[in-house]
Structures are given as C-alpha cells and as structure tokens.
Amino acid sequence: MTALPEPAIRTPAAVDKGESLLRRRFSEFFESTGAAFGLALLILLLGAAIFAPWIAPQNPYDLAQLDIMDGRLAPGAKGLDGRTFHLGTDEQGRDMLSAILYGLRISLFVGVVSTVAACSIGAAVGVLAAYKGGRVENLVMRAVDLQLSFPAILIALVLLAVFGRGIDKVIIALVVVQWAYYARTVRGSALVERGRDYIEAARCLALPKSRIVFRHLLPNCLPPLIVVATVQVAHAIALEATLSFLGVGVPVTEPSLGMLIKNGYDYLMSGKYWISTYPGIALVIAIVAINIVGDRLRDVLNPRLSK
C-alpha cells in the first residue's frame, strides 16, 4: 500500500504531451514579435535594475556622494567634480541616471516581492476555500468581496499612514490590497477542477487533504494565476509609484521612480523637465513591457485560444 507511487495519478496539465507542452507554449509566445520585444525590454530593465550598483555612475542613496551645489543641472551638464550628468540632476544634486536605475530596482523589487507574497497567500486561501466549501468558503469569499469593494489606493494610503515610511511597509501594504485578486482567481478555477475525475481518484486513494489541495488541485489552477500575477506586477509597480508620488511610501532620501517624478513635478512648469520626465519614461516602459508580456502569456495559456 505504502509503495504506491505518487505520480500514478497524472494531472491533465501533464497528461497532454509531457514536457513538449512547455516548449510549445514557449514557441507560441515568440510568434508575436511585439511580445518578444516586450520580453527583451523587460529582461534589459531587470538587468539594469539588478546590476544598478555596478553600472550606475553614483550611489544616489549615499548622501555623502551628493552635493546640492550640483542641484538641478540640465542633462549633459558638468558637475563640480568634473563628471558629466547625462540625464541631469534633481534638486539635491542626485544624478538622474543613477537615481532612475536605483529607482527601477526599488520599483521592480517591490512589484515582484509583493506579487509573489500576495500570490502565495491569495492562492493558498483561494484553493482552500474552493476545496472546503461551505462555511469556510463563504467566510473567505465575503472577506475578498469586502476587500475588493474598497479602492486599493485608499487602503494602501491608510495602512502607510499608520505604519510610516519604508520599503518593507510598502510591500506589506501592497500584499494586503492584492491578495484578494488571487484568492478569487484561484477559487474560480479550483471550483472547476474540484469536480474532475483525477481529484475524485485522489480522494479514493485517501491521500491526505493537504496533499490533494497543494499537489493536485493547486498546480492545475496555475495558468490563470500566472496571467493575473504578471499583470498585477505592473499594477503593484504603478501603485507603489502612486504612493511615493503622494508622499507616503519610500523614505525621501531613497527615492523610487514615483518619488523622483514628484520631486520634479514642482519644477515642471519652470522648464526643468528632466527631473520628472526621465523617471516617468522609465516607469512607463517598465509597466508597458510587463503588460505586453502578461497579455501574451494570457493568450498563450488560454486553452480556448490555443490551436
């Protein structure tokens, strides 16, 4: 009895054509040049963010490296120590290029970490609700409804007003406002999967409930989850930028893209366009790249659209 090999029950995702499925999806993805371009852009931005400390000309978060006498220099101007600021400086004398690279780092980090955390929590809660049904499901889904009925930005603002500033606190706030999307998505697909034969079979084998839920049910709910998560990364980044723009969120001495835009906003009308514009462009590119990739993933992973 105990020797029963676990993979004996093959789940539909794996049944199809084994490993070649992934490869097929992969090649399908690249059929769209737009998506390929988006992915390349995203990889480029990720690389720039990860390697920012090595490629940025300055550490914009080290106050000792800044000099306000270099403040608000136009792109291409030379600073006091002779270096060139290719994208200009903000009013504290921060090199905009370095600030954008570091800002991307914060934005992508916050986006990815909060999405992974919210996704894990949301998926676990959602799949449990679907499997258990009854009271648990009711309770969880009403909590989700309640959460989704408030605008995300409002909840995040309140949370940050209570917590104070800090990247960790921004991430917590983003997880709190986002888990509900995942819970709802996962529950939807888990409800469908629950009635399938392979789950029935797993039940008949008297496998532990946790095993059924997490090894059988959850993996088969993943495709929609991946799509939602990709789009939500972009949402999280935009939300973080909004919070920073509003003056809650990251500390002022460690600006993210949103805060850089806010700092430059004061000077926008007086011709000092570069403080807001370049971080704005970086933010837009990052969000658009993620959304293109997310859109394509949705097309590829949607069984109704697959050939």
């Binding site: 080290d62 106050l63 000792a64 800044l66 000099d67 306000i68 006498m69 403040g71 608000r72 009013e91 504290q92 004398g93 007003a161 104070g164 500033r165 003056g247 500390p251 002022v252 001495t253 004061d266 000077y267 009308m269 007086s270 011709g271 000092k272």
Partner: protein
Amino acid sequence: MSISRSALAALMLAGTVAGAAAQDLKIGVASEATSVDPHFHNVGQNNALRRHIFQSLVGADENQKPVPQLATSWRTLDDTTWEFKLRPGVKFSNGKDFTVRDFVYSVCRIPLVENSPSNFTIATKGIESISSPDATTLIIKTATPYPLLPIEMSVFGIISADAFGADAEVKFAKTGCTGVGTPPKSSDFNDPAKSIGTGPYKLKEYTRGTQLVVERNDAYWGPKPHWKTVTFRPITSAGPRVAALLAGDVDMIENPPIQDFDKIKGAGFDIIQGLSNRIIYVHLDQFTGPDWKTPGVKGTDKNPFLDKRVREAFSKAINRDAIVERIMGGVAVPAGQLLPVPLFGSSPDLKHDKFDPEGAKKLLTEAGYPNGFELVLGSPNDRYINDEKVAQAVAQMLTRIGIKTSVDSMTASTFFSRRNKYEFSAYLAGWGADTGEMSNSLAALVTTQNYAPGFGNTNRGRYSNKKVDELTAKALQTIDDKAREALLREASKEAMADYGIIPLHFEVSPWAYKKGISYTPRVDQYTLAYEVTAK
C-alpha cells in the same frame, strides 16, 4: 458691418475694463479667513482681513513696530500704568463716534467668543483695569511691568458697541464685565450691516469659499485708500493661484511658488519679496533626565548633543548659503539668530555660521566622535517652504562630516504630535514671532520649559541655560525699550554662542502682481489692500 460692430464692442469692453481696473483690485489669497469676526480666530489670514475693516488702538508698520492708529500716542505714567491718547473725530462706518466705551466693549467681548479655535485673550491678559479720566484719555493698569502692552494693543480689532446694543456704560473687570448685553455671535459679522469698524474699508459681500468684497469706507478718518472695491478670492493651491494671475482673473497673489518665479516674471508680472519673521531651525535633544535614550541616535551610548562641540560642529557643517541658493531658489536669508534684523531685539552683528566642514570634523573628533554617529532628522513635509528638501540637504551635509543622517518626514499634524512626544533627537521646524520681538522667539524656543508661565513651550529640544532664562525674564519686565532691547540681544547672543538651537534661514514671503501696482512687503506676511498703491 460685423467688423465695426465687434470693434465697437471691443472698445466698450476696453473702456469698462480700464474704468474698473482703476478702481477695483482683485487679490488671490492663499488661505481664506475662517470668519469676518475680528475676534474669532487669531491666525494670519483673519488678522490681515480684520485690518481692512476693524482697527486697533495701536498699529504695526511693515517691520511690526508699533505706530499710532486709534491712539495717537502712549506713555507710561509708572511701571504698571499706561496712558493712551485717543484720536479725536474717529467715526465708525455706521456714523457713530469711536469712544473709550467701544474699546472696553471689545476687550470684554474677546473672551466671550464661542468656539474660537484660538482667541485673543493672549493679547488682553495683561490688562488689570481700564479707566478714562476724560473722553480722549485711556488709562490701562497692569499687574506687573508689561513692556509688550502697546504691541498687544495692536493685535485685536475694535468693534462698535452700538452695533450690538451694549448698555450706555460698559465696565471692565478682570472677573467679568458689566453692561455688555448680549454679545454678538461670530456669524453676525457676515452681515455687512453689523460688521462695523473704523477701518478704511467696510464689508460689502461675503460668500464663503468664493469671494469676500470690501468697499471704501467714506467716513474713514485717514487718507483715502486708492481702491474703491477690493475682492479677496481664496485660491489655496499654488498652481491655480499662479494661473489666475497669469490669466488676469486676479491682479495680485500671495505666495507664488519659488519654482514659478521665472514663468511669472517672463509673463510680464512683478514679484516682490520681503523678509518674514519666521525662522527655520533645527532643535537638538539636550534633555539631561536620567535613563533618557536619545531616539534615532546610533553608534554611541551617550547623548552627543549635550556636548557643545557637537552642536557647534552641527552648525558649521551646514552650508546655509547653498541651501538658500539651491533649495530656496534665493528666496530666503541665511540666519545666525532667531529674528531677522531690523526687528526688535535682533543683533546686527550676529552673523550666520560660516560653512566649515573641516572645522566641524575636527570638533567632532575632539568631542570623541571621530567616526561620527547615526541620526534621524525629523521634518514636516507640507508646513514650511520646501521643508522636506531643506531637511534632506541638511542630512546630506551632516553625512559628509560623519553624522550619518536619515530624514523622517511626514505631514505636519503627524510631525508635530510626534515631536511633542520627543520622538526626534533632531528636528527641523519653523517659528514666526507674532509680536515681532525677540522676547517671543527666545521665550518660546530656548528658555527652559516651565521656567515661568509661557516659557519654553516650543523648546522641544529641552535646551536649558540659566543665563538665557534670567535675561529673557528680566527683559519681559523692563519697560524701557533701549534697556529691554539690550537685554534681549544679550540673551540671544548667549543662546547662539552656546548653540542651544541651530538657526538655518529666515523665510521670505513673496507677492506677485501685474505691472502698474506696487506693494511694500510686510514682516507679518499680511496682504493689506490699502497699502497696495498704483504707480
């Protein structure tokens, strides 16, 4: 046909615009008065509006020096007795004469204002008794020598006793006046028929949130103001305020933002700037209580700020000229004391500390911190001009001498409540001396808490220096202006030499207006339409 018609219309329009422009002034104000009632709320915008309609015994010039207004002169008969000579022939806008009774009525009504957010008893608290030997003489007695009495008589406006049906005789008593009748409610003043004062203007129309219009008071005793009607439009956001000026909707605005100066000048408008009485400073935690841990300070187990050398290094590390030039766009003045020259009690020879990072490092090493320490600088981010940016610049400069500083900035209400709980070992804030005297700044910011009533209320660094306390207290009991100013200067120099507080800069308040009019900046930052002149 159509061309000549539109040309005619344009001519007519130009005619009316020119005619109106010569007589009407529209001002975009940054904050709306919370009431027309001159006694409701002791706050800048209300006090500015009040001066158009309601006058006081004593006026204040642009440097907050007391000047004659409804009283033509004043003197002390002895240390606790003041004699004011009233201006003869002054009439209220309802035609009634201004008498001692109106003054007494106003003093009596001040504590009776309902729901006042901050009332004017602060200005009448010194009055012990009021008498009047003849119709033009007013005698005020105080309990102790009270040199600030003339200034405080300039703080509150005088309302008409007849407008609200007071008895024929109104008597002042510290414990409660008699003959006041039913005092008016604050909302009564919204009615032009009841808003009766002796000022150059009278209320014409008041629509909360939209506009407040005053028109020339023809019964005014003084020189006739240039503008027949003046409209105050509250435009609280800076962007729309500038846009309203550029579009010609208003003729003059308060507080154009520094970063828009170039644009405003480029569009053909004038900008005038004047020193304000507001100092931006950093206070350092100097509490000596047992078991007190300085919050936010890391890298040392002592309170570094108890060492004068550390405080001096702090001050020397700050490049005030750079902050003024780069962060404030030149619209501020570096400070070496708590009140700018020429205000009362300021010392012309107290200059701001020279930027000297090497000297600062040396002082830190001498004090036993060769590697510096870590510090959190608290700051509001929406209270003073560029407050958060100034805090960042200070942090940058301190980090360069080894005090690794991070900035914790937040909205003003959160900041002040946390500051009042002593959660910051160093914080940036500002102080406006509303009496225009050094005694106000010293008493609030650097005297020991609870040394005397009203002392050290805003001294949240808990600095304590016996000499400063004694000199300030003595100055506040000295009637003679020269002697008082000497004492205040001495106290101020002592506090500055001891680095009890680190002054950064004085804010400068700007006004922008169309060509053809001019305004003299005021230290108290009030916008007074009757002082706006046409060139």
